[in-house]
């Protein structure tokens, strides 16, 4: 649905029909992404060394969301999912959703995530 980038004079549909892929971004995007990834990694390691933060309830969610952001950035920009055919997006996000749900279900089943009232 996002057609903000207008690299080509063809409409996306025409481009698809003609077999032309959306153009990939260039150096200017790539190095910025790399910097962001580095910064996030530094942040992750940094908080790891703050005992008070590690002990706090925010630790786990923070780390999980930081790595999720990294994951998403690489997939969207380096793997061009943001620019490529939406089919690829479906092929990746579908399995990713199944996989994530499975992970969470297993964590629950083995008692690593507990529901409100413990049994």
């Amino acid at each position: 649905m996002e057609q903000a980038h207008d690299h080509s004079s063809l409409t996306p549909a025409e481009a698809e029909a003609a077999g032309i892929e959306h153009e990939h971004p260039g150096w200017s995007v790539y190095w910025r992404v790399a910097v962001i990834l580095t910064l996030i990694t530094i942040a992750e390691v940094w908080v790891y060394y703050i005992p008070a933060f590690v002990a706090s309830r925010a630790f786990l969610p923070t780390l999980l969301s930081l790595s999720a952001v990294k994951f998403a950035i690489v997939v969207l920009f380096y793997m061009h999912l943001r620019y490529d055919h939406k089919l690829f997006r479906t092929l990746f996000t579908g399995p990713l959703i199944v996989a994530t749900c499975t992970l969470f279900a297993l964590m629950f089943l083995f008692g690593h995530i507990r529901l409100g009232h413990g049994a």
Partner: protein, 217 residues
């Protein structure tokens, strides 16, 4: 790796192999989720040490094992793998833009696919080097794949990932060889693209592993 596919009809205009690699990556998600889940399920369930984040004293020998994981080293290798992804997108861009005029030094550097492929491979090898160092030092510190649940799950998970990196490095080196032999051009972009997708995927898996295995306690 001939380009005969192109004169076949296709319903979406997309390349067969690119569809296949995305399906493959989707499948790999389940593979790694199984490995990661197992690691997390067994977290804290090892009956004997050494442990990842806390020291352990062997009750029978009195030997003290320190916490196994070495965060500074792994942070460095994580950084290296991230940078290899950067090198890889640049390699792909260089291959895609072969033949376009290169107006200045910067464009010439950016357009040098050999440089970026070699860089990616080197960084990949660097990552593997760190992993080899990590594995040997763990073994020296008393953790093997047979020691306890942590050892079994840790080595299997990171070993699986390492095997993926190894396969990727071989792939990249073969591509580099082709580049030296006959030069890669836009007609090879698909092959490089597929390789790049695989490589980035291996990278994002590490992103997850780094957090879930190394940082979370």
């Amino acid at each position: 790796m001939s380009a005969t596919v192109s004169h076949h009809y296709s319903s979406t205009g997309l390349e067969n192999r690119k569809i296949a690699i995305w399906a493959f990556i989707g499948s790999e998600c389940m593979l790694f989720v199984s490995l990661i889940s197992t690691y997390l399920i067994y977290k804290g369930r090892s009956r004997v040490g050494p442990y990842p984040h806390t020291p352990w004293t062997d009750p029978s020998t009195g030997h003290v094992y320190k916490a196994i994981l070495n965060i500074p080293v792994t942070s460095a290798s994580t950084f290296i793998l991230l940078m290899s992804s950067l090198a890889m997108v640049l390699a792909l861009a260089a291959v895609e833009n072969k033949g376009k005029p290169q107006r200045n030094l910067g464009e010439r550097i950016l357009g040098n696919s050999k440089l970026w492929l070699a860089m990616t491979a080197l960084l990949g090898i660097g990552f593997l080097g760190f992993q080899a160092y990590e594995f040997t030092s763990f073994v020296n510190e008393g953790l093997t794949i047979k020691t306890n649940l942590f050892g079994s799950t840790f080595f299997t998970l990171t070993g699986f990932h390492g095997a993926h990196v190894t396969a990727g490095v071989i792939w990249i080196l073969s591509m580099l060889a082709i580049d030296f032999k006959r030069g890669l051009g836009p007609s090879d972009a698909l092959n490089v693209d597929i390789m790049a997708l695989y490589w980035h995927f291996v990278d994002v898996i590490w992103v997850a592993i780094f957090t879930l295995v190394y940082l979370i306690r």
